[in-house]
Amino acid sequence: MSNDEAIKAQFEPKIVAFFCNWCTYTAADLAGTARMVYAPNVRVVRIMCSGRLDPQFVLAALREGADGVLIGGCHPGDCHYQEGNYKALRRFTLLKSLLKSMGIEQERVRLEWIAASEGDKVQRVINEMTETVRQLGPLRLEPTIYNLIEDSLLKIPETATLAKGDEL
């Protein structure tokens, strides 16, 4: 519907990124020092290790209004804390399948291994991710629980008619 396209047209995705302190956050700093310009849509939350990433954080970000979540950790075998990134990988894998069954597009959540020296990869991944999410359009998890009540006011299906009492 044209209305939706209109929304898409001026839609600027909000993406929350969780970067590990040692590899990916450092890489993002490197991208900065090297003045690698990239899409402004990703906002980084620093955690010490991708292993700290609690799936709750991903859901919370989406609930708070993010349209996508990017997770960055050290390459397998390179974790500053030896194994954190593997734990992240396991949680992420299961979380993805959960999100899938919750009807949320897989592409909205992405896990990338980015080493401290890979500033260019930060740039690439962020640009890609922003584009992908832009294509998917806004994730309308808003409004939050408190206005979920109007959320539940229905378009009346042919078979039924709304009784007066139903108007809230």
Binding site: P55, V58, L94, T159, A160, A163
Partner: protein, 327 residues
């Protein structure tokens, strides 16, 4: 002076919560000694009008079980809210959405189609669906409207306390009543159950290994369960570690893994996400493919991790369905 008045009401629930009150057995007598039950549609004959007649705040406590999914339930709980000093969300459904909350994987249209048309046991040639207003010679019949999204009680009205469980364990109910009658009220929003996970009171606690390494997930009917050993150690997906204690590990004692009806502990925002995180952490593999393989054993992630708490989860409901509603 007159005894404090209490009311019970049920919304989208199975009736088990009412049973739980009956399960108080002879202990219900002191309760009746202490309070006047002035509203309890299941057990005693009261009408909405009776409640409407009450002055606001007339009820000391309103116990509401069941999730909220119809306009009628919504009206009733709002009514009760205005009439009661305290509202207690009674049982998993009112607390977290409960089993009925799994309906949030679909929208109303889908459910109607399934229940009134597709279901093999249904013979509904004219495809009649419940409609909210029907004209008949005698006049007009109306039904409450059914919502797309099932909600927890606190998503529609303010809730003072929660009694978790499906149904709430008798001892917890007793304690709750004692506390409330004692007048020494805990802070608002308290869940009236110990804020520690189930493992602590689990009879198999000591048999849980420190180096749990999950490589596959079995389902209860697939194996012969050792009645002593920790169920997780036997490859069964037991959610005890994630779930609030207070039930005395009732299910586990009869060889059934915990499915989480008591909900999360106070420090956890999203039960399913936390459960998922804990379970995934104990998986023993570093290979992407293999990991995916292992998780394929979990047939229905949502049903497993959000069995009682989908509406209370951060996502509340299936997303595409919500979107397809094109609001």
């Amino acid at each position: 002076m007159s005894k404090p008045k209490v009311g019970f009401y049920w919304c989208a629930s199975c009736g088990g919560c009412e049973e739980a009150i009956i399960d108080l057995a002879e202990d219900i007598l002191p309760v009746i000694e202490a309070v006047d039950i002035v509203f309890w549609p299941v057990a005693l004959d009261f009408k909405r009008a009776d409640v409407e007649a009450m002055p606001d705040g007339d009820l000391a406590v309103g116990f509401i079980n069941g999730a909220i999914r119809t306009s009628e339930q919504h009206e009733m709980v709002e009514l009760l809210r205005s009439k009661s000093q305290l509202i207690i969300a009674f049982g998993s459904c009112a607390h977290l959405g409960g089993i009925p909350g799994l309906a949030n994987m679909f929208n109303r249209q889908e459910m109607f189609d399934e229940v009134y048309i597709k279901s093999p046991s249904v013979n509904n040639v004219e495809k009649v669906l419940p409609s909210e207003k029907i004209d008949i010679p005698e006049g007009k019949l109306t039904l409450p409207s059914m919502w797309d999204t099932v909600k927890t009680l606190d998503q529609v009205i303010e809730v003072d306390y929660y009694l978790p469980g499906c149904p709430p364990p008798v001892n917890l109910i007793k304690d709750a009543l004692k506390t409330i009658l004692s007048g020494e009220l805990p802070p608002n929003g308290t869940v009236l159950a110990p804020d520690v996970a189930l493992c602590e009171e689990c009879s198999r606690r000591d048999s849980k290994p420190e180096d749990l390494a999950l490589r596959e997930f079995k389902r209860p009917h697939e194996i012969i369960i050792d009645p002593q050993q920790c169920l997780l150690a036997q490859g069964l997906l037991c959610l005890g570690p994630v779930t609030r204690k207070g039930c005395g590990a009732a299910c586990i004692n009869v060889n059934m893994p915990c499915t989480g009806c008591m909900g999360p502990t106070g420090r956890v925002t999203d039960y399913g996400a936390k459960a998922l995180s804990a379970i995934a952490s104990s998986v023993d593999s570093k290979d992407e493919k293999e990991i995916a393989e292992i998780f394929n054993h979990i047939v229905d992630p949502v049903g497993t991790f959000y069995r009682y708490s989908l509406p209370a989860s951060l996502l509340h409901r299936h997303y595409q369905q919500a979107k397809s509603r094109g609001k």
